[in-house]
Amino acid sequence: MKHTISVIVENKPGVLSRVAGLFARRGFNIESLAVGITEDPSVSRMTIVAEGDEKDLEQITKQLYKLIDTLKVFDLPPEKAVERELILIKVAANEKNRQEITQIADIFRGKIVDVAENSMTIEITGDESKVKGAEKLLTKFGIKELVRTGKIALQRGSAE
């Protein structure tokens, strides 16, 4: 089962390497990882998507707490969280299909962020299913390059 884990850590050099290394060492695959500072610049938040059962999740949570720089760890089940991911997709484009690509981007409330003679780059933000849907529809034009931020998530309503 896939889990989204929020890890609040001290914003210090090397923390990312400690956290990422811990996942690898204990045998948990990281599917995506997004990290950045929070409202408090001395604190960073990592959003990690990883695969594992409940027992795995419990063990990785405890192991994360053992890192001296870890302040808080919590699981974010989809029903209790707002989740977003941002992707940039560069698709092959020409005069004929530019219109169609723009329409697809509009449907997904995406933005055209770059247009060139042979390509268009679209920015799409949303949860996993939306982003996947857009990617699927754009595939037929030929995806030249794609980059994703990895999922970020926050608990719904008041924290805790």
Binding site: V9, E10, P13, G14, S17, R18, G21, R25, K55, E58, Q59, K62, Q63, Y65, K66, I68, D69, T70, L71
Partner: protein, 558 residues
């Protein structure tokens, strides 16, 4: 007045009560060694290989309960500490490893003798630091010592660039380490303790399973009180030996792969297993589904991550073992002997005692028993290397006190014993310190004999010499059809001559009748190390033996 980072470091160490450090100089730590040259308050012991420094600091920590400190230069000096740091990490030993680093402007440039030691040691430390600004030095050292010795102890590396040693600060040492993200939970939850007390009062076949955590939390007297108050038989892991007296009638000795048969039978049959500062290591549990299959399990540990890591636990109690046991002892009702259970265990003890055949050559078990008879009643610390020497000593030496048995458990580091014995002897100068070694492992840090000779340490090294890498040979005999692939060490050097060349006293013993006199002789030598090369029966095995992957009651007894 401003002082240098190197001077500040020594002030910090003195503030932490450090009396001795084990180290080896090199380029980037020159500023620190220059300050050590004048230093009176801290003794620096020059080892002959940095691995020896780490193991010596570790042995010192295990013998005394204090934090051990080792010191090495950057690059190869630091990487040579790695095995010693990992050894301390696996056995939760409080240690500070100070490494020199290239000056900050040279960091990340593949400079001469540069190694990313904080990166390298992440998986084997409780925490590590690279000090980039001399102003942070006192705070970091304070934090490092606090982290190393609190909660579940462990090693902490402090990496210090050369220009931090030479930088200047106005020195003041903080009274307290304030780390908002590190607050070990030491007090057990009262509700969980009450639940445990209830389970104990209802159990008909209880067993206590005691690990190294009971020793690091100095909880031996509490272990004994609980065992005696409720008449609970006690088995120990290799790391837990000495936490409960091995000669006590409730002692079952060691359990697991080379545990006593009666200990393994008791665990397999018990209805309540009380794990105290133990971590259900695979060498203890064997095949997990068949480990204590009939038992409810209470698990007391200061590290929450150990709870449920390897086995399911019915009543977890996170807290310092000593604190938790104290409260548990108050809450449990005293119990008479569980007559049927104790009788059953007595029967197992009679039927399947630890035993060996006294004939067919010189037997290692006999040497260990003879030595124990000789030092009975004297303060003594027994150290081992890793392999058969370690298991025979763990089985046949009856440890009655904590911190009298020093051995690399989790990592199983050959070459640990000799430098650890040195460290233990520095920590306990009046104790008789003996290292039971093998002819393989003794050569892995043999250079540390120099450290012992130079410091007139009267450590005893008893090599149980079978001209084999014995434990591996045993596995080859029992599991790999006697294919003795690369385990024959018959072309070893003459260890007596080697020891004498280093300046130690040494002799060889080949017959059982000479054992007593040789051991007595070793005790008369007080101004230098002694090595006795005991030529033991070549293919003597360690039994019982639970083949890997088997249940612990499915052992080969002889």
């Amino acid at each position: 007045m401003e002082i240098s980072g190197a001077e500040a470091l020594l002030e910090c160490l003195k503030n932490e009560g450090v009396e001795i450090i084990f180290g080896y100089p090199g380029g980037v730590v020159l500023p620190l060694y220059d300050v050590l040259y004048r230093e009176k308050g801290i003794k620096h012991i020059l080892v002959r290989h940095e691995q020896g420094a780490a193991h010596a600091a570790d042995g010192y920590a295990r013998a005394t309960g204090k934090v051990g400190v080792c010191l090495a230069t950057s690059g190869p000096g630091a990487t040579n500490l790695v095995t010693g740091i990992a050894t301390a990490y696996m056995d939760s030993i409080p240690m500070i490893a100070i490494t020199g680093q290239v000056a900050t402007p040279l960091l990340g440039k593949d400079s001469f003798q540069e190694a990313d030691i904080t990166g390298i040691t992440i998986p084997i430390v409780k925490h590590n630091y690279l000090i980039k600004n001399v102003k942070d030095l006192p705070r970091i050292v304070k934090e490092a010592f606090y982290i190393a010795r609190s909660g579940r102890p462990g090693p902490v590396v402090i990496d210090i660039p050369k220009d931090v040693f030479t930088g200047k600060i106005k020195f003041s040492y903080p009274d307290k380490a304030e780390i908002k993200s590190y607050k070990p939970n030491l007090k057990g939850h009262p509700k969980q303790i009450s639940l445990a007390a209830k389970e104990i009062s209802q159990a008909k076949k209880p067993v206590m399973y005691v690990g190294g955590g009971a020793i690091s939390s100095n909880a031996s007297s509490e272990v004994k009180q609980l065992a005696e108050k409720c008449n609970i038989p006690v088995t120990m892991t290799m790391m837990g030996l000495g936490a409960f007296p091995g000669t006590h009638e409730l002692s079952l000795g060691m359990l697991g792969m080379h545990g006593a048969a009666y200990a393994n039978y008791a665990v397999t049959d018990c209805d309540l297993l009380i794990a105290v500062g133990a971590r259900f290591d695979d060498r203890v549990t064997g095949h997990i589904p068949k480990f204590a299959p009939k038992a409810r399990i209470i698990h007391i540990d200061v590290d929450p991550a150990e709870i449920g890591k390897n086995v399911r636990v019915d009543i977890p109690i996170v807290g310092d073992v000593k604190n938790v046991l104290k409260e548990l002892i108050e809450k449990v009702a005293p119990k008479e002997k569980h007559i049927d259970w104790i009788t059953q265990i007595e029967e197992w003890k009679k039927k399947y005692p630890l035993s060996y055949k006294k004939e067919d050559g010189l037997k290692p078990q006999f040497i260990i028993e003879e030595f124990q008879k000789l030092v009975q009643g004297k303060e003594s610390i027994i150290v081992s290397e890793v392999g058969q020497n370690q298991m025979w000593t763990a089985q046949y030496y009856k440890f009655d006190k904590p911190r009298t048995w020093i051995s690399s458990g989790g990592l199983g580091t050959m070459g640990f014993g000799l430098p650890a014995a040195n460290g233990a002897q520095f920590g306990k100068p009046d104790a008789i310190v003996a290292n039971f070694a093998g002819d393989g492992s003794i050569q892995m840090n043999i250079q540390e004999l120099t450290t012992a000779v130079n410091n007139r340490l009267p450590i005893k090294i008893f090599v149980l010499d079978n001209c084999f890498l014995g434990m591996v040979r045993q596995w080859q005999e029992l599991i790999y059809e006697r294919h003795y692939s690369h385990t024959n060490l018959c072309n070893n050097p003459d260890l007596v001559k080697v020891a004498e060349a280093y300046g130690a006293a040494a002799r060889r013993v080949e017959k059982a009748e000479d054992v007593r006199a040789a051991l007595e002789w070793s005790l008369t030598i007080k101004d230098r190390p002694v090595l006795i090369d005991f030529m033991i029966a070549k293919e003597e095995n360690v039994f019982p033996f639970v083949p890997p992957g088997q249940a612990i009651n499915e052992m080969i007894i002889d």
